[in-house]
Each structure stands twice: as structure tokens, then as C-alpha cells.
Subunit: 168 residues, 2 copies
């Protein structure tokens, strides 16, 4: 198999979001077992001016669905940011994985030079598809997934790097 | 430009390690300003059974140099794990970036199906180059770089996601 824009996006993001589902399931079980209100973990932050767990998960999915939609040239589906339980976040992740995996390689491959425009408060910025994928979306997906992991690790949930990397 | 095994490894890892250098420089300055012994930050962990900052940085470089060496079929350079200051860790990162950037695309490209063997305490495991890069090394590099970031963010160093993602 050759590396391609599809291979470096859809399966990579789907894998990371699936791993995050596994991590959230362990966190949910840990909260139940330790009699911790789910909201405490969902609202937990590693620093007062850092996003809490729920927002980390939301942004990870937003980055992934935004990326494949923009590369393929289809409208980005909007998700309500109303998740209030681990079950809600897991449902969002599952919905996002199903969306990602609805794309065919032919919709994404060959988009290396496609101009991707992002709206910013300071004005639009644009990147070639390859740079957008490798230097913007991939690091963002990993950043928010591992921030979610780090919050839960810090909160004593029994997870390890294997949960983040996934089965190999 | 086409996506390739080289493009998805050498520049991606070099970019992440350079961003990590910037983060460590800010951490060093923060320690000086706040009169915190460097060793406190270097030994800080988000959980008692999680690696401290120094080890996170060491593993990030080990993953990156191991990957390009294995894909190219050259011996992996050994680094002593003796860093005791931010300056030592930054020097290790700079050495690793220079090593990564010494590779030419022709040494890495086309290694999607190359068998990569990793020694494990439980026996050797092997993966095709493409899976090794996208499902093992990339997530590991991101995991350890963002763990380093999360430790320092939790310790009050004035860094933000922009420092992790880098200039775009």
C-alpha cells in the first residue's frame, strides 16, 4: 500500500478517536467505581486557563471532520457542543468515526495542492492540503486526544500509553 | 508536492522537536524567573507512575531517530540518557533534528512495505513501514511531545497550543 492523503487522514483519525472512546469508557467506569460525579472529570483541567476534558474531545472531532470535509470539498457537518456525560462524548466520537469512514480514498487522494481556507478572527488564512493535513490537523488531533488522556491520567484513571496508541 | 514516507516522517518529526525546543526554552526561562530549581520541572510527573519531563523528551527523540534509521536501513545512533538540565535536553533535541535532516527523501520514500522489526521483551514484532510510521511512531512522537507540554502547562509555564503546533 502507498501512503496517500486518504491513508494519512481518515484511518489515522478514526484510529485515534476509537482509542479515545476506549479511554473514555475506562474513565466512566473509574468514575462509577470511585463514586466521582462524571461532571468532575468532564470539567477537569490541567491548568485554570486550559480547556476541560469535554472541550478537548469536541475539538479533536471538529479537527478530524473539518479536515476530511475540506479536503473532499463537502460541507462540514455541525455538531452541537452539548455533551454532558461520558456517554454523550462517546456517541459524538462514534458519529464522527462513522462520518470519517464514509469517505472513499478517491475523494481525498490527490489533494496535496488543494487550497484550504480557514476563517480566522483576524482574516482568512489558506494552506495547501498537504501542509494543512500534516502541520495543522494531525498535530491538533493528537494534541487534543493526548490532552484528554493527560487530564484523565492525572485524575487517577487506570490508563496507559497502550490505550492511547491502540492495538498493534 | 506529493505526500510520501519522507514527507510524513522527517519534516514532521523535525517540526515537532523544534517546537519542543521552543517550549523547553520558555520552561527554562520560567524556572529562572520563578526561582524554581530546573530539576523540579525536569522531574515533574502528571501521575506518580508516569514518566517525568526528561524521559518524555528522551523518548520523543528516540522514536524519531529510530523511525528514520529503520526505514532507511541504517544503524540507530545511541544517545546517552544523561540530560540533567534544560540545556542538555535542548542539545539532544538539536542533535536529533540535525540527524533527521541529514536523510534524503530517496532513503525513506518507497518504504511503505518494508518489514520493520522491533525487539520486545516478549519477542520480536514486525510491521510494514507504513503501519510502523502512521500507527506507531507518529502517535508516539506526538504523545511524548504533548506529555512534555502538558507537564509544563500544569506547572504554570506560560505556553499555549501555538507553541505546540508551531508557526503556520
Amino acid at each position: 500500500m502507498q501512503i496517500s492523503m486518504y491513508r494519512a487522514s481518515v484511518p489515522v483519525f478514526a484510529r485515534n478517536l476509537r482509542n479515545l472512546i476506549g479511554i473514555l469508557r475506562k474513565a466512566e467506569a473509574s468514575a462509577t467505581e470511585r463514586k466521582i460525579d462524571q461532571g468532575v472529570l468532564l470539567g477537569y483541567r490541567l491548568a485554570p486557563d486550559m480547556f476541560p476534558l469535554t472541550r478537548q474531545v469536541q475539538i479533536a472531532t471538529d479537527m478530524a471532520k473539518g479536515c476530511v470535509s475540506r479536503l473532499a470539498g463537502v460541507e462540514i457537518p455541525a455538531y452541537d457542543d452539548k455533551e454532558a456525560t461520558f456517554g454523550d462524548l462517546i456517541a459524538r466520537l462514534e458519529k464522527c468515526v462513522a462520518y470519517l469512514e464514509s469517505f472513499k480514498p478517491a475523494q481525498i487522494d490527490g489533494t496535496e495542492d488543494k487550497t484550504i481556507v480557514l476563517a480566522r478572527p483576524t482574516g482568512d488564512v489558506s494552506y495547501p492540503g498537504l501542509q494543512y493535513l500534516l502541520e495543522y490537523v494531525q498535530p491538533n488531533v493528537y494534541f487534543h486526544c493526548s490532552s484528554a488522556y493527560a487530564i484523565l491520567r492525572h485524575c487517577g484513571v487506570n490508563i496507559g500509553k497502550k490505550d492511547f496508541i491502540g492495538p498493534l
